[in-house]
Subunit: 300 residues, 2 copies
């Protein structure tokens, strides 16, 4: 039987943290958003407002007052003790730095009620890296979301060897209740499922460009025709952002590091960071009064 | 300016060779299909008939007599000299064995007119491996098709350092005229574009299964949601066929070889060869009176 979750606290109000908090509130839960100071929380409130507007445009049914109602269910706090006092579940979306996260968990452990489940949204760390620091390893899992959570609604759930199966199942159930498709991962694996598939695929596509084998448009077209996918790998990279791609590639094998150097020299150093900057492997024309953009021509 | 192509000869009437010959005839060209004896050509004729029936079902406009008219444009011969006598273009789709192909080109060279362009459909060899054997390296390129050519209509065109650019352009133009999307590859690369992307991606997916990280259905669902693709990697592998996947994996790195062993033990040795055999990563129920199949349940 799964444990009751009513109150959820999200630690960290960055891009994805804000989306997580908003999506949970949108699903009917009371949400507490925590960040380290009131200045950051002011930005977070703006993010929630913007998310409300995007949901109204992009999510069916959201414009019937539901997107606005979600905003009313989010409270903000820069005091950790207040933020977690009533939490049934704490989702941590703090910066991807091991010591920052460990320090946060060390503070969090004594402040949260004993019943509280902790979940990390970390992309790059394993639950094992943090389990001891939580002080409650059996109530700790990874719960990993994708960017643009309302479109790419997967939640990857990964325990560590000491995670209580009932806690794991509770988090799977919770993911479903907030509109996510739960992706159950049986063993710890860097990159979970999604990035374990994406990273080698995107690296292979970059290598084709870097080694002068084919043009970005040709590579993408091949993939779209061969698999029926709506986007090719270089279109995906433009959405992910070339800075993110750079950081992943820079810690890879020899070809990946060559990819990283190429991305830096030919794109990042020239301000071509992907779709968000208006240019990456493709040039984009921002469609006025909408957040979405459409490709116009290849820039390569 | 591109060189005129009217008469095309396809050497080899296996699964893909037959599709190439039929698609070219369907596009209005006179086609000569060559294979080594009349028994094999009898099978080929059956294949062409079956392809005609599939086009009638699956290709718009094909049932207005066009699919049948294509059949009338295909002639067959088991005499190489006759088969290539009038060829403007010879497409070689012989078995993927270097010596078999070299021997074939050595015979072909003196028999074909000097103007004839040679193209290999090899998936695994590079044009450089065969260029000298053709006796006309400057008129030789790779022209690589995908299985189910009428759906996955890409033609990857790859020259070698001595290919005449006018010949390359002629073949690109020809690919377009037979309804293919030409994929221009600037340098020799094993796997062209398509398999350079597919192989690492499919290996990563297999590794997730082999290492017990997640179930096939979960892996496929993640990919479909994260990228909007119609099929996940294990669904793709079932279509490609697990024997083909096995052979590719068996010559790869350590993880790939572990994947190969797993495929053999858990699937191939049990007759689970993918969609065509009714079971692979998924179980399939053959839909009567149609060649297509639909998945019913996961078998893993």
């Amino acid at each position: 039987m799964s444990i009751r979750i009513d109150n959820v606290t999200v630690l960290g109000t960055g891009n994805l943290g804000s989306q997580i908090a908003y999506q949970i509130a949108y699903s009917g839960f009371e949400v507490m958003a925590y960040d380290i100071n009131d200045q950051i929380l002011k930005t977070a409130k703006k993010r929630f407002e913007e998310l409300g507007a995007r949901y109204e445009q992009e999510v069916e049914g959201a414009s019937d007052g539901r997107a606005r109602a979600a905003l009313a269910r989010i409270r903000c706090s820069s005091t950790l003790a207040d933020a977690v006092r009533d939490a049934d579940l704490v989702i941590e979306s703090a910066p991807e730095i091991l010591d920052v996260k460990r320090e946060l968990y060390a503070k969090l452990g004594p402040l949260a009620p004993g019943r509280t489940i902790f979940a990390t949204n970390s992309s790059t760390l394993l639950p094992s890296d943090l389990a001891e620091a939580t002080g409650r390893p059996e109530r700790f899992v990874a719960l990993h979301f994708a960017n643009d959570i309302w479109i790419y609604n997967i939640a990857e759930i990964m325990g560590h060897p000491r995670t209580d199966p009932a806690i794991y199942d509770t988090v799977v159930d919770f993911a479903r209740r907030i509109g996510m498709e739960p992706i159950k991962i049986h063993k710890e694996k860097a990159g979970y499922v999604q990035n374990s598939l994406l990273v080698p695929f995107l690296e292979a596509a970059q290598a084709l460009v870097v080694n002068g084998i084919a043009d970005p448009e040709t590579i993408d077209k091949t993939w779209r025709i061969a698999t029926g996918a709506p986007k090719g790998p270089l279109q995906m990279l433009d959405i992910i952002g070339l800075t993110t791609a750079y950081h992943i590639a820079a810690s890879g094998d020899e070809q990946a590091r060559a990819n990283a150097r190429y991305l830096k020299e030919h794109y990042i150093d020239q301000g071509k960071l992907g779709r968000a900057s208006g240019e990456g492997f493709y040039k984009y024309e921002t469609v006025p009064a909408q957040s979405s953009t459409k490709p116009v021509t290849a820039s390569a």
